[in-house]
């Protein structure tokens, strides 16, 4: 009985969201407002249990690491973001996290540039490797804006555009598949778990 009521509530909320396909309406607005509140409310106890207790409460009160009081007080400074006169205080917790960009310089250079370049520099011993090489070079030429895309150079950059369109098409196809599988999941829930029409 309890499971049936739970399923009916979930089904009602699912249909409320789907009602947006017709047009924006009070049922969708109701579900949307509820979704935002529940999602944010869901995060609070989880952050408390998984971040506040192990990294703030336990080190300070159980392990006696009073030095953790400094970052904790720095975290409290976030609150001043909404104060007109004291908003500058909220910069401190933000800039402490921003320091990691120093690591980002060599890491992004390594993972996104050097590793990709090494993978691109293969012997052109078959047609596919040659096609990948041409595609990579022409796409890079397309993103070089210091020269006007005209004449022979423009023809090369145009090849890059075609490669990107195929790449975007593949990503588009994968995204559609992922969303369709979610849709199938919701329809299976409505027809199977709620109405019992499919097993």
């Amino acid at each position: 009985m309890f499971e049936t009521i739970s399923n009916l509530i979930a089904a009602f909320l699912t249909l409320c969201i789907f009602s947006f396909l017709y047009k924006d309406n009070p049922f969708y607005k109701f579900a949307e407002a509820l979704f935002i509140g529940v999602s944010m409310g869901y995060a609070i106890p989880l952050v408390y249990e998984n971040a506040f207790l192990p990294f703030v409460y336990q080190p300070i009160f159980l392990q006696g690491k009073l030095i953790i009081l400094i970052p904790s007080l720095m975290g409290v400074l976030y609150i001043f973001r909404f104060s007109r006169n004291l908003s500058w205080l909220s910069r401190y917790p933000i800039v402490f996290g921003m320091g990691i960009v120093g690591m980002g310089v060599p890491m992004s250079m390594h993972s996104s540039v050097l590793v990709q370049m090494r993978s691109a520099m293969l012997p052109l011993d078959n047609i596919n490797t040659a096609l990948i090489f041409i595609g990579t070079v022409t796409i890079l030429l397309y993103f070089f804006f210091s020269k006007e895309h005209k004449g022979v150079y423009g023809k090369f950059t145009n090849v890059g555009v075609w490669y990107m369109m195929i790449g975007f098409g593949a990503s588009f196809g994968y995204t559609v598949m992922a969303r369709i599988s979610l849709l199938i999941g919701r329809i299976q829930f409505l027809l199977g778990d709620v109405l019992g029409l499919i097993k």
Partner: protein
């Protein structure tokens, strides 16, 4: 000084992180561990920022009796009720908190994302109506990749899964690699701008 001191902190920490990446010394490891433990202690307080922002936006709508303010009241009620249920009854399996997750949050979340299937179909139709050669190539690639992932593609022709695999491994790889190189260079340039104090928008407005 309200802007200069935070800027000095970013630049100092940034260069210490550059040194940490290249110098595998125990002092460097100790610096990294110190930064991680402090960051973990700061991070939970960011949630307060989110709660305050949501409460202020919706609280203002309620107090001003703005159009549809009733939905704002519902959002705040759901926020308080869900948060309180986690603190009162716990977050383990079988609690009201998990019931809310399984029967309210999760079904609405997946339905919200599944709506995108319809919006994407609509976008594809609009792209097809553009009748440009590039849009046609994009759609043909998308259709082949989609058919290549389902049994229907194999039923139509054995070439479809093979072509789908070729698209993913050759032109798609070249496109992703070219874009990744551009993104990588962009990330490096942006990180350098922050590190050298040229990019300061993260400090926000005011003095």
């Amino acid at each position: 000084m309200k802007r200069q001191i935070p800027l000095i902190i970013v630049i100092t920490l940034g260069f210490m992180f550059v040194a940490h990446t290249f110098i595998p010394h125990k002092a460097s490891v100790a610096f990294y561990d110190w930064w991680v433990s402090w960051s973990k202690a700061i991070s939970p307080f960011a949630v307060i920022l989110g709660i305050m922002s949501l409460t202020m936006v919706h609280g203002t709508k309620i107090s001003r009796k703005a159009p549809n303010w009733q939905y704002s009241a519902l959002t705040l009620f759901a926020l308080v009720f869900t948060g309180a249920s986690g603190f009162i009854w716990g977050t383990s399996e079988g609690t009201p908190f998990m019931w809310l997750f399984k029967n309210v949050q999760m079904p609405m979340g997946s339905t919200m994302f599944s709506l995108l299937a319809f919006h994407i179909a609509s976008a594809a139709y609009k792209a097809f109506r553009a009748r440009s050669a590039e849009a046609t190539v994009l759609l043909i690639a998308a259709i082949i990749v989609m058919l290549g992932q389902v049994p229907l593609g194999m039923a139509i022709s054995k070439w479809i899964p093979e072509t789908s695999s070729w698209i993913l491994n050759v032109p798609n790889l070249a496109a992703k690699r070219g874009i990744a190189l551009g993104v990588g260079l962009g990330m490096t340039a942006t990180s350098l701008k922050i590190l050298l104090g040229i990019e300061r928008t993260y400090l926000g407005g005011g003095d």
